[in-house]
């Protein structure tokens, strides 16, 4: 029997980063209201960074989010480098790419194995896996460990990394240690290839047409060069913020964003939809059968896209490490000025934007940070609405709809810690 009237309320959705509640109201068989509330408390980083020393800023903003801390550090560094016109050596550029790859491998693996894979096997937890499934739990450890070690060797730590600074790295990695990572990266690659098949075979369908936005370029490296949209627009990093419109979501601790009046989706799915041709040649070769599925409007494929990005991160890391001949170099001295700079990078969950306004006394005047999950928030609500209506029309039970919604939200891999980091004063 079709549900005519129901209130779905999910408190504290599990297996995501941070805390979110979801409330859905259905009346006369129609979805009337969807409220996805990010419930992590604001920690007011935008206020706290005012007056801080420029040099400590990349470390301070790392604390916005544990799992994406490297993304915040690297984006903030890019903004400072642009503001202060800091030269970045070719060697530092390579190390920055390795830093991003270490992050992607570890962070994506956490999501596609520990958070999302139980949904594919219809289990509550990786801890409930049995039979052949248990191999995937073991595999998750090998893949995460490879990413963690890459970050640790290059950036000093996988969480709140101490080495990256404006212009380069305060400590250079040991070349031998770097080369020693190659066998572990290769092992992780073998493991990830297996889980790609699991996701590709799962026929879950969360399709809804939307706009996709991602940083793209000739090389798929999460750091540059320009923003592409699925409407074919190409935007410079400096101009990105001009295209965004803030949307107040009164019940959520985060504000949302629209892109020129449209809702949009960021993240691995967007990146593959818009830039799969730039993936590493080995990734394109070995993942060819999966890459045929993109571009896609099916949000469930975000999981598969993350897996393919792990393969790419491994392939390009191995190539960089094999070629890299490190020469000793110090990060350049910073020359402070009254100036502004923009940093845009691809965090695991999508495009991350920083603008920093700096002062010539070496302190921060203020800053603007726009995180991927804030930008995905409205799109998520619209997807939820569509799925609920579809399931209501099919006569699905309330409990089954609720589980379906959790799976949908997890496909986005939302990061609530990031989303609620700051406030806007003109918020009412």
């Amino acid at each position: 029997m079709t549900i005519k009237k129901v209130d779905i309320s999910i408190q504290d959705i599990s297996k995501i980063e941070g805390h979110a509640d979801l409330n859905v109201k259905v009346r006369n068989g129609k979805v009337q209201e969807v409220k996805l509330a990010f419930t992590d408390n604001k920690r007011f980083f935008t206020q706290a960074i005012r007056g801080q020393s420029i040099e400590t800023l990349p470390q301070a903003v790392a604390r916005i989010c544990g799992t994406c801390s490297l993304a915040h550090t690297m984006c903030c560094i890019e903004a400072i480098e642009r503001a202060l016109k800091v030269p970045v050596s070719e060697q530092s550029k390579m190390l920055k790419k390795l830093t991003m790859y270490g992050l992607m491998i570890r962070d994506h693996a956490l999501h596609i194995y520990l958070f999302a894979l139980p949904d594919v096997f219809e289990k509550d937890s990786v801890l409930d896996f049995d039979g052949e499934e248990t191999q995937y739990l073991k595999d998750s450890f090998d893949v995460k460990r490879a990413g963690n070690k890459l970050s640790t060797v290059v950036a000093g730590r996988a969480v709140h990394a101490p080495y990256p600074v404006p212009g380069g790295f305060s400590v250079l990695p040991d070349e031998k240690e770097l080369k020693a990572l190659i066998p572990e990266l290769k092992l992780a690659r073998e493991k990830v290839m297996k889980v790609l098949g699991v996701y590709a075979r799962c026929d879950r369908d969360y399709t809804r047409a939307t706009k996709f936005v991602a940083l793209a370029g000739d090389e798929f490296n999460f750091l540059g060069d320009y923003i592409l949209t699925s409407d074919g627009e190409k935007i410079s990093e400096e101009k990105y913020f001009e295209h965004l419109e803030k949307v107040v979501i009164p019940y959520s601790q985060s504000i949302g964003y629209e892109f020129e009046g449209d809702t949009y989706m960021l993240g691995a799915l967007a990146r593959l939809n818009l830039n799969k041709e730039s993936l590493h040649r080995n990734t394109k070769k070995d993942c060819a059968r999966y890459l045929k599925l993109f571009p896609s409007n099916n949000i469930f494929l975000n999981n598969l896209a993350q897996g393919i990005e792990i393969v790419h991160a491994i392939d390009h890391s191995i190539e960089i490490i094999q070629k890299l001949k490190l020469t000793p170099e110090e990060p350049p001295e910073l020359h402070y000025a009254d100036c502004s700079g923009v940093g845009v990078i691809e965090a695991p969950r999508g495009t991350l934007f920083y603008r920093v306004n700096l002062k010539k006394d070496g302190t921060v005047k203020d800053g603007t940070i726009v995180t991927p999950t804030q930008q995905n928030q409205i799109n998520m609500e619209l997807d939820i609405k569509k799925i609920v209506q579809k399931e209501i029309d099919r006569g699905t039970s309330k409990e089954a709809i609720q589980y379906e919604l959790e799976k949908l939200v997890r496909s986005y891999d939302p990061c609530i810690s990031c989303a609620v980091h700051f406030l806007k004063v003109n918020w009412i």
Partner: protein, 167 residues
């Protein structure tokens, strides 16, 4: 003093892992420790309430609750009291839980910033001040660090396994 030693052979340490206002960096370190320790831990530890690992979590009869983050709202306060009632030992994990900061950075905001954020504190029922855990409940052990120190965490965990007579 309560005798925590278990008499039943094969009994596991029932643990919970909770996150309040913070960046959840210690949760990430915990999930990374699983890479090397899961096999060993699964023999001694029952992951009863771990939101990053389970969908269905029950806050009941925990031996040890590991709590990350500072307390910044009435909702968090209530949950923390609930946790304290349902665990025998409570361990503060990471800088925000142990000292309040960096999540407690608003406690030291100058007047004009305090004014700027005031309406949001009201709107989301945040408390006037951000608290470290021991401001509100008894804390039995601490694992400091931003993120938590892995070595200290292992030390505290092993200590708990001993105290509960499991290992």
């Amino acid at each position: 003093m309560v005798n925590l030693k278990k008499e039943v052979e094969g009994k596991k340490l029932r643990i919970g892992w909770f996150s309040f206002s913070c960046c959840e960096d210690s949760t990430i370190v915990f999930t990374e420790l699983l890479n090397d320790y899961f096999e060993e831990w699964s023999k001694f530890i029952d992951f009863v309430y771990v939101r990053v690992l389970r969908g269905k979590n029950k806050l009941k009869d925990l031996d040890v609750a590991f709590v990350e983050g500072a307390i910044a709202s009435e909702r968090e306060k209530k949950k923390l009291f609930d946790i304290r009632k349902n665990c025998k030992k409570l361990v503060a994990v990471g800088s925000c839980a142990c000292t309040g900061g960096p999540s407690a950075q608003r406690n030291t905001f100058p007047k004009e910033l305090e004014k700027e954020i005031e309406f949001l504190l009201r709107k989301f029922h945040q408390t006037d001040r951000v608290h470290k855990l021991e401001d509100l409940v008894r804390v039995d052990a601490k694992v400091p660090g931003c993120p938590m120190s892995e070595e200290k965490f292992l030390e505290v965990l092993n200590q708990m396994l001993k105290e509960f007579g499991i290992k």
